[in-house]
């Protein structure tokens, strides 16, 4: 078990990095072109709460499942998400994208709340299926982006940082009663996802 002090430092570092980066879009001079593309892409997953809770849930569930899921999920997700993004860019329709995004929060939230320990292949499959929906939503906006390349860099970085945030929170499971806190987080994620799914939010 990781010592509490190390755990605090690690979680604190992840949170600090995350919020430091998130603070950038609040600058008065957002800029256009390259920087505008990056900021636009970076904020796309972060300012959409349906994306935020799902991405955090991926990291959280990965940390909850432990090794090797903790490293396979954040590696696999961007790749599959990019596949969904490519479908969006090419204009290939994927049915019920918004519902799929909301459902990802519901399903992942329930799995975390229920402390479900799925086999690695199943966990990867579940996350991969939902990654297609998230990627498609990002990819649809890519062609209209100010600077498509930096937009893509921005949203991949934003998504990855949300995963890391979830993994950081997931380290709570190594503390006494931390498992309960993480399961409560999972329940909250499921409720938020359901709110999106049924149009409450």
């Amino acid at each position: 078990m990781m010592p509490f002090k190390k755990l605090s430092v690690l979680s604190g570092a992840i949170l600090t990095v995350f919020f430091s980066v998130v603070a950038v879009p609040a600058m008065a001079h957002g800029g256009g072109g390259v920087s505008g593309g990056f900021l636009s892409g970076f904020t796309h997953p972060i300012l959409g709460w349906d994306h935020v809770v799902a991405m955090v849930a991926v990291g959280l569930w990965g940390a909850f499942l432990g090794s090797p899921a903790i490293w396979i999920l954040p590696v696999a997700f961007p790749l599959v998400m990019a596949f969904g993004g490519a479908l969006g860019v090419l204009g290939i329709p994927v049915p019920a994208v918004e519902a799929g995004i909301a459902a990802s929060s519901v399903v992942l939230g329930i799995l975390i709340a229920g402390a479900a320990r799925a086999p690695l292949w199943l966990a990867t499959l579940i996350v991969a299926v939902f990654a297609v929906f998230h990627g498609h939503a990002h990819g649809t906006e890519l062609p209209e982006a100010v600077h498509p390349l930096t937009y893509a860099v921005g949203f991949v970085c934003g998504t990855g940082l949300l995963h890391l945030l979830g993994i950081g929170l997931g380290f709570l499971t190594r503390l006494p009663s931390g498992v309960i806190a993480v399961r409560v987080c999972g329940a909250a994620i499921a409720v938020i996802g359901a709110s999106f799914l049924f149009g409450v939010i």
């Binding site: 090794s67 490293w71 954040p74 590696v75 696999a76 961007p78 790749l79 998400m81 990019a82 596949f83 993004g85 490519a86 479908l87 860019v89 090419l90 204009g91 990819g139 890519l142 062609p143 498509p148 390349l149 930096t150 893509a152 860099v153 991949v156 970085c157 990855g160």
Partner: protein, 203 residues
Amino acid sequence: MLSDRVYSGVIAAAWLIWPGAAAAHIGVHGSDGFVTGALRPVMDFSQLLATISVGLFVGWQNAGNANRAAGAFVAGLVAGLAGAFWSDLSNLPAGLLHGVAFAGGFLAALARPVPVFFAVTLGGAGGLIIGLALLPGSESVSEAGFALVGGFFTVTLIFIYAVFAVNWLRGRASKPWLLLGLRIAGSWIAAIALMMLALTLRA
């Protein structure tokens, strides 16, 4: 695994030369072209991603394969630069660079050694395409030549840094998350490149 001393020597030599490009008075003939060419692989994000991804991929290979793949990369880069210098390749498909970045990033994310033929092929093809994409865009032949030399210098440096980073961490990292970081970097590069590839195909 490539020798750390070789990498350290190359990097030290490179940094000894580099300050010249940053000097206030750059009146030496060809220096403008050299600086322009040297900055090109850094300013063009597609080239940067492709170079880093091939470097990460080569870094994950076993010692012998990594040496051969690195050699193939440099040879391919030289061939590509020569092709860019003597041919009109202004219509080089942009998707090629993204394809290289995707392949390298994807294999770096897998973090598994591949057969030597495959490693050498990807290294060589990567170098060739990156070299071809470094079009000088200069009216003067000598300036264009200096620009290509500058481009060669920077691309090689970035490539060596990426290979060295993986080698160094693989040899010393006791923390698994450090190696995980390299795999995530490969995954992110592959993801970005795949979407850019799709955008290129769409156009």
